[in-house]
Amino acid sequence: MMKFRFRRQGADPQREKLKQELFAFNKTVEHGFPNQPSALAFDSELRIMAIGTRSGAVKIYGAPGVEFTGLHRDTATVTQMHFLPGQGRLLTLLDDSSLHLWEIVHHHGCAHLEEALSFQPPSRPGFDSASGPLSLARVTVVLLVAAGDMAALGTEGGSVFFLDVPTLTLLEGQTLAPDEVLRSVPDDYRCGKALGPVESLQGHLQDPTRILIGYSRGLLVIWNQAAQCADRVFLGNQQLESLCWERSGRTLVSSHSDGSYAVWSVDAGDSPMTQPTVTTTPYGPFPCKAINKILWRNCESGDHFIIFSGGMPRASYGDRHCVSVLRAETLVTLDFTSCIIDFFTVHSTRPEDEFDEPQALAVLLEEELVVLDLQTPGWPAVPAPYLAPLHSSAITCSAHVANVPAKLWARIVSAGEQQSPQPASSTLSWPITGGRNLAQEPSQRGLLLTGHEDGTVRFWDASGVALRPLYKLSTAGLFQTDCEHADSLAQATEDDWPPFRKVGCFDPYSDDPRLGVQKVALCKYTAQMVVAGTAGQVLVLELSDVPSEQAVSVASVDLLQDREGFTWKGHERLSPRTGPLPWPAGFQPRVLVQCLPPAAVTAVTLHAEWSLVAFGTSHGFGLFDYQRRSPVLARCTLHPNDSLAMEGPLSRVKSLKKSLRQSFRRIRKSRVSGKKRATSATSKLQEANAQLAEQACPHDVEMTPVQRRIEPRSADDSLSGVVRCLYFADTFLRDAAHHGPTMWAGTNSGSVFAYALEVPAAAAGSEKRAERAVEAVLGKEVQLMHRAPVVAIAVLDGRGRPLPEPYEASRDLAQAPDMQGGHAVLIASEEQFKVFTLPKVSAKTKFKLTAHEGCRVRKVALATFASVACEDYAETCLACLTNLGDVHVFSVPGLRPQVHYACIRKEDISGIASCVFTRHGQGFYLISPSEFERFSLSARNITEPLCSLDISWPQDTTRASYRLRESPKLSQANGTPGIVLAPQSRNGSPDPGHSRRADTPEPPEAMLSPMSVDSATSADTTLDTTGDVTVEDVKDFLGSSEESEKNLRNLAEDEARACSILIK
């Protein structure tokens, strides 16, 4: 009996084949700004830029859409990166002093990044003690000489080693020990002290044999590599931080730890120079911090740029992160909000040019990349087409809108342009333009909306590989917050020396946590949107192309409905500004609804056709008619036993906890999505066994083990009243003959409320409906017996397809739903999926996910999966993300499991909480506060970088044997498969538009006419797009982390799951 019951269905080979054509899991691209960057490099020949991170990731960026990602096998900080100019090769230095050579190789027309070689310096050779001067134990600086064939490595011991780059082997016998240098230094300078570590190595542009070496103690030497002697010696006495050799080679500039820089002239005489030509302490006379890096760039017009970081007066501005740009008499102190990692200028590096002529300055900060146009007076910032700092204020929620109509797209773009007007004089476009983007124009426009803690909603172009900012909506202007006065005061007291200029948009400080955006919904046909926030504010906005000045009508809805014994001890509601307010072009608020008590909004939905907005909090839900500006319905969902919610402190505790958590996350940046390392499963098992063997037998262990109580969910759990989802549908609720507007609400305790709405019909020819009140009557109430929180609700039409969005059918943008056959409602709870018939709500099919897998559902969305083999075949399926970070796909309405993949580490609770599915089987989740990982469940709809780079260096095939491994892309940053450019089936075809599957003879139009993807079924709906970390999530996390310390089994299990994709 039991055996029969739990037997799995046998695999149907045809269905298996179809599944392979429909579903494929790829992590395709990482959007946003790399978390914890640590190194920067720029190849001025290829015009590509590389960023290294503390987790060992290497990311190369060129023109928008040109991206390469690599990951070092060891999680070590990338301390330095150097491009071999023009070769598409990159030398990286990690903080374990290992060197790695990466190269961009082309496979079938598409380029990707591979690690070619690595070099681990012999740390403790027998003949050489670790402390000895010849030890290569710690490399401090790297310089590429002789067109990249050789690298000079400066070490902590003061020696300079030379390395053959193509093979990454040490050139024995060429090592330059500090003793050799000291020979050319006068005795009185020597005075028995060591020279200190090599702080800087600089090459000469015209003469590759000469190397400028700077030692920490202050000694500068121009070393002639050919003659093996010191050409010039400069006896500096100030501790050296950085060096720059002017283009012509006649001038040196050195920066020092006391905040000064010195200019040395190379021409004068043969004797060692003891004094620099000029010494300047730009922010003196009081003690200043060190100038960490200095650049000297000359211009045709005669003067030069001096660009340096740091050097600020220690006492007054020591905590500022500044880069100073000095040209002639003009000094600008660029004041950034996060640490400066590195900077470079985009300038000419051709040896025949006489001048640098810097075009742009790129500054890599810990949280963003800022590029300044140095050719335009005023040095304006150049907006970056990628590397957007998603986290300029912490992301609190996100939503994806697929298939945005071209008209709305243009309006949003123009609103965004008006918002950040380009200085007309600035001619410089983005200076990093290397490579060619081979990916075709995105078939459809996808909009990613992120809600932030400071009350803004940002609109991102998520159509392609580069996530481009389009528009920023701020809701803070509608409310009175206490922080404004302080702000203006602070600005007034600012001195004009140093000449600070605020640059960059990373601003982690929120004025008022109540402004935080909790939920966003956008109607793409009417350009109306609703933004709901932490203090129960629900804002209905409308896109307007012209600025206007108008008052916003305010209403409040009491969700408690006279429930007794309740006192709200949480935050106050926000007080809106009264009177007409000026609004810039863009989304302008029309109606503000405030929930009472002002708890955070947990669910919101908008139906523009009916002019209705529904919203829910932890206390209940409400329905508001924003055309007539009158509330229609309010319903309290609190359970009488829910004392925690009744007394109210909950919300305060929770929001405080949450904001604290977010602050910590921002400040400490401790939470990084760990990078998955490829370790063999067997070694993991051995490890686990070893660990287990060490542990004593459980019977004689004194410690109390982690244990879990097995108790059924009871009705009076706290938080049972939280409204988890809201949904509008035109369906059959009253009887099988008449359909009509309905509203559905699901709560944390497994209750579903269905209301029949009486929406007066619109007058003929106008979109406005008659001025009659909307009525709502409770039609059905379903109590799921397992009482798990209801995650999503959707109504399926007679053919089992989800109903289209409002206006979609009436504007012929989607197939009209089948109103003949029986409708069904799909209710997804945290534990089960169930389909009920309508109007008689009786269970039709179900899948008990938790009962089988032991996991709980976190996110659910209905998505359309198009087949790669057949152009117009598509299926609507239910995609779900569980608390273990696995993604499952189920058929609809049969609820049969199709595939599942391990996607996110289960410890990464904010990654799981931030996941958003798109309508075409893709998804996003945060891998760090600043990065969205994009993944694809669809075999056809994949957004990944496809690019090529014109590189010129002799690629000898014999070198392939040196390669450590052929494809590092399996273990890309954050466990990403990275740029999966060429599945083995690409057939040498350079056209990325071709099918990814070679065995399916398919006309190339399959991917070139992607409109069919959209029009086939547009009736998919992203059901829930929350970015909330719930208490449950944290419980999960806490539980699992303490558990994993005890037991390595999970690790082994994760490992096993990561490498096998189980198709059931």
Partner: protein, 375 residues
């Protein structure tokens, strides 16, 4: 014969060993007392009862309300003795005519249901008669050992029946290591173990599960490779009909293959708690209709006051909506008689003026525990 026929008021004051009995037949009450320590024989008690109620010529069944409010039968010396000894302080006895009681309404929650629902019973669907096989019929199953024939002797598959949502399952699980035989010798593998029993909980009262038993399967799904939290969630999601396969820490009480008799309790032999436990033989399970699907918990659907929508431009309005609203237990098929949650839901909703509830019961929706609910 130690019967005493004192008035209860008097009795309370000077005889502590006496048990006050309140006997009810129809609308009539009779009060008498029994000796707690020597209650006597059931036969005598039966005679006494029919005598007291003057119903000597009718065939009746006698039941009593136990401490949990469940109506349990008195039909032999043992349960009579149990009834008297557990009376605290009053023994409430219910007498029914045999034909009325035919529907076998003993069991959990049956008493409260009866009180509300007597009126409806006449309209209720006629149930097929039960097989009468010995005593177990009159008890509700609490747990059972199942699949003895297909499992290795070292394993035990235990099914816990949860009646209503009030009774906790009452055990804890933890991570641990167990030793498996692997090709390369013994291998320690992680496992899930029962770490603690809640005193008085369902799991303890069955005596079939014990601390340090290794959990191998939950409702047919192996737990190997699953985390503690996953297993916890699986158990909770299956809590209404939990089937756990364990490898008992104490292997001495294993079922002997072939005898078809359950080995009874493991090492736990707490007789105090076994009051409502009946370690059932596998045969008992066969008695029940195949209730594999009975774990399909019915969701409760409440119909609001919602008639067909009046359609404009349709001269004869559709028939008016039936007055009041309906509630039904959703989930078709036999064996679905769990009204407990429905009760709670309904009672919690009564405060809402929008809901006036009257519920004709869909035929066939209620079984096993007799009549349905009317409010």
């Amino acid at each position: 014969m130690n019967r005493s026929f004192h008035k209860s008021q008097i009795l309370r004051f000077y005889d502590c060993s006496a048990v006050e009995v309140k006997s009810k037949f129809g609308a009539e009450f009779r009060r008498f007392s029994l000796d707690r320590h020597k209650p006597g024989k059931f036969e005598d008690f039966y005679k006494l009862v029919v005598h007291t109620h003057h119903i000597a010529n009718t065939d009746v069944t006698i039941g009593y309300a136990d401490v949990h409010g469940d109506l349990l039968p008195i039909n032999n010396d043992d349960n009579f003795c149990k009834a008297v000894s557990s009376a605290n302080p009053l023994l409430r006895v219910f007498i029914q005519k045999r034909e009325e009681a035919e529907h076998g309404s003993f069991g959990a929650g049956s008493l409260s249901r009866r009180r509300k629902a007597l009126a409806l019973r006449e309209d209720g669907p006629r149930r097929r008669t039960h097989l009468h096989i010995g005593l177990p019929h009159d008890f509700r199953p609490v747990s059972s050992i199942i699949d003895v024939d297909i499992l290795p002797e070292t394993h035990r598959r235990v099914r816990l029946y949860r009646h209503g949502c009030q009774k906790p399952l009452g055990f804890y699980i933890r991570d641990g290591t167990s030793v498996r035989v692997a090709p390369q010798g013994l291998e320690k593998v992680p496992g899930i173990f029962i770490s603690r029993m809640v005193p008085g909980g369902l799991a303890e009262s069955t005596g079939l599960l014990a601390v340090d038993d290794e959990v191998l399967e939950v409702n047919g799904i192996e737990v190997a490779g699953k985390t503690l939290d996953q297993v916890t969630d699986m158990m909770i999601a299956n809590s209404h009909n939990l089937i756990v396969t364990v490898k008992p820490a104490n292997q001495r009480n294993n079922v002997v293959r072939g005898s078809r008799v359950a080995g009874g309790s493991g090492r736990s032999s707490d007789s105090g708690a076994s009051r409502h436990s009946l370690p059932a033989a596998p045969a008992l399970l066969r008695l029940q209709p195949d209730d594999v699907d009975s774990d399909d918990e019915p969701d409760v659907v409440l119909e609001g006051v919602l008639g067909p929508r009046p359609v404009p431009r349709l001269p004869p309005p559709p028939p008016p909506p039936p007055p009041g609203s309906q509630a039904r237990v959703n989930g078709a098929g036999p064996g679905l008689g769990r009204e407990g949650p429905a009760h709670r839901l309904l009672s919690s909703l009564r405060a809402d003026p929008r809901h006036s509830l009257a519920l004709p019961l869909p035929p066939g929706a209620v079984e096993e525990h007799g009549p349905a609910v009317t409010l």
